[in-house]
């Protein structure tokens, strides 16, 4: 599949933004109901602004992918059947719920009262649902087995919460904020989880697929080779699905992506005493770049079955 940068940016940026807001909300809820502490106004504002801008930038970027964006408003209309529609509805629903939550928080002098708690829990659930829908958009596509598997959705969820935790840790570290959760530990655990999920994913997509040029053409008893694709120049199909990168380069990029997105940030957090705390932002950026590369690979390694009609022997 051809990697569309707007979509890569959207899933990474909006995923990290909503992950950050989820951790902020969980922090608040835990502070109020378990730890009996006070909400830190500055951290709340920084996280809200950062999280919401990432979410908004991501959503705006996703509309760049549309060839006819004037009809984008219609995308909210098929909530009952389309995962893309569901994603849009949840993503937009998050804003009023989160703003109402902040309003009630402000009105109650930054205490999480019952109304705020209900809104906070709702915002957490909506945020997770949005990322779940993003994963399901890909996981529901049967013609692309590298997406249509049981690892896609967990990996989207984990990577969103993981990048959110790292960002939360970065904000807490710079603001010298004593958080109720140990975000350093949570980040390291999440980064390791992310790495494990990616390894499982690479293993899953390495297994043979069920479709072949034989099932595609219906000639199951003999070898089938493409003689003529029927066109002399590129078509929509070859542009969209014919994206090819040499396997050796893909393998190298896998290591690079895993290194940037998981290993480097985890090592940095583990040995964070050695570094100045201001290194956390370059490190968070490195992780986001690594995740962009990981998302690029998610597209580049996906092989749509239509390729079988253009001469691929298996998917």
């Amino acid at each position: 599949m051809k990697p569309a940068f707007s979509v890569l940016f959207f899933t990474v940026c909006a995923g990290a933004g909503s992950g950050l807001l989820v951790w902020l909300l969980l922090e608040h809820l835990w502070l109020n109901w378990v730890a009996d502490g006070q909400v830190n106004i500055k951290v709340t504002l920084i996280c809200s602004v950062l999280g919401l801008s990432m979410l908004t930038l991501g959503l705006l970027s996703s509309t760049l992918h549309l060839a006819n964006p004037k009809n984008a408003w219609r995308a909210f209309s098929r909530f009952r059947t389309s995962w893309l529609s569901r994603e849009g509805v949840f993503a937009v629903l998050f804003y009023p719920v989160f703003f109402l939550y902040l309003m009630f928080l402000y009105k109650a002098d930054w205490a999480v009262n019952l109304t705020a708690t209900v809104l906070g829990v709702a915002a957490v659930l909506i945020s997770i649902a949005t990322v779940y829908c993003t994963g399901m958009i890909y996981a529901s596509l049967k013609p692309i087995r590298q997406w249509h598997n049981s690892v896609t959705v967990p990996s989207y969820l984990i990577l969103s919460l993981m990048s959110g935790a790292v960002l939360m840790h970065a904000v807490a570290m710079i603001q010298e904020y004593e958080s109720v959760f140990n975000y350093s530990l949570i980040s390291i655990v999440a980064l390791s989880f992310g790495l494990v999920v990616k390894f499982i994913y690479f293993r899953v997509i390495g297994m043979p697929g069920t479709s072949s040029i034989n099932s595609a053409t219906g000639f199951s008893q003999a070898r089938v080779r493409l003689m003529d694709a029927g066109h002399t120049s590129d078509t929509f199909l070859t542009n969209e699905f014919g994206f090819d990168v040499a396997t050796i380069r893909l393998l190298r990029l896998r290591w690079l992506a895993c290194g940037l997105a998981f290993l480097l940030p985890a090592l940095f957090l583990y040995f964070s005493d050695v570094f100045s705390m201001y290194w956390i932002w370059p490190m968070a950026l490195t992780m986001l770049i690594g995740l962009l590369l990981e998302r690029w690979l998610f597209f580049a390694e996906a092989r749509h079955v239509v390729r079988l009609y253009h001469g691929d022997q298996t998917n």
């Binding site: 013609p143 493409l226 699905f241």
Partner: protein, 231 residues
């Protein structure tokens, strides 16, 4: 009704007439235009609703060239319709034709990703998705003589390799052809249940026999005369 096509891979010669007839009809039809970019350049690109690919099946000396025209299969389980967020894609209850409302499509490409048969192509100029309509603007047109109420690709096919009909009716030509010639849908493992069926090539002897049966005495004489003249 379950309208669709039967495509005979035994007789298709890969002439691309169906594709050009399709483009000609549909570029000025209800979903038109089917735009092209740089049509007279080295690398033209445009939306086509029908594409023909040629394959070599089996190894020499048993190899056979098979031409395979592919358009929308009007699947029973059309995932392209399910994934559509705007409601632009829909499958008609009454005849099973899958269509796109050009006024609702936002060009997100998700339906093209969900289609295993490559039946959907984005119009490079209009930014909306285009696909085979089974010439819905022909087959129900009362103004046309009855025999012309068929998809443009079917009417134009010089070898009669394309047959249009109702698969729900067991006595229709398409249903009978599928039974007699063991027609099958492509990529059944994905579970889309495509309506369009492909008739596999016949064994050479079998097809020769069927030609032999239909030849009249006059025709035989004519062929003999031809052979003599050519010598």
């Amino acid at each position: 009704m379950k309208l669709g096509l039967v495509i005979d891979l035994d007789t298709c010669v890969g002439c691309h007439a169906c594709a050009t007839a399709c483009k000609q009809w549909n570029t000025s039809g209800t979903i038109g235009p089917l735009s092209d970019e740089k049509p007279y350049d080295e690398d033209p690109i445009g939306s086509w609703l029908n594409r023909i690919r040629s394959y070599e099946v089996d190894d020499a000396p048993n190899s056979k060239t098979v031409h395979m025209p592919m358009s929308c299969m009007h699947c029973e389980n059309a995932d392209c319709v399910t994934v559509c967020p705007t409601g632009a894609s829909y499958k008609r209850e009454e005849d099973g034709i899958v269509l796109i409302d050009q006024d609702k499509c936002m060009g997100c490409n998700l339906c093209a990703w969900a289609c295993p048969y490559g039946a959907r192509e984005l119009d490079p100029d209009q930014g909306v998705m285009k696909k085979c309509t089974l010439c819905v603007d022909r087959i129900y047109d009362d103004q046309l003589p009855e025999e012309e109420r068929q998809p443009a690709c079917v009417l134009t096919c010089p070898t009669n390799s394309r047959v249009f009909g109702d698969f729900d009716d067991p006595n229709s030509t398409v249903s009978k052809l599928v039974v007699e010639r063991a027609g099958k849908g492509l990529m059944p493992e994905l579970g889309y249940e495509p309506t369009n069926q492909y008739l596999p090539p016949r064994q050479p002897r079998e097809s020769e026999k069927s030609i032999g049966e239909s030849v009249s005495l006059a025709e035989k004489m004519k062929r003999l005369a031809n052979r003599v003249i050519f010598r």
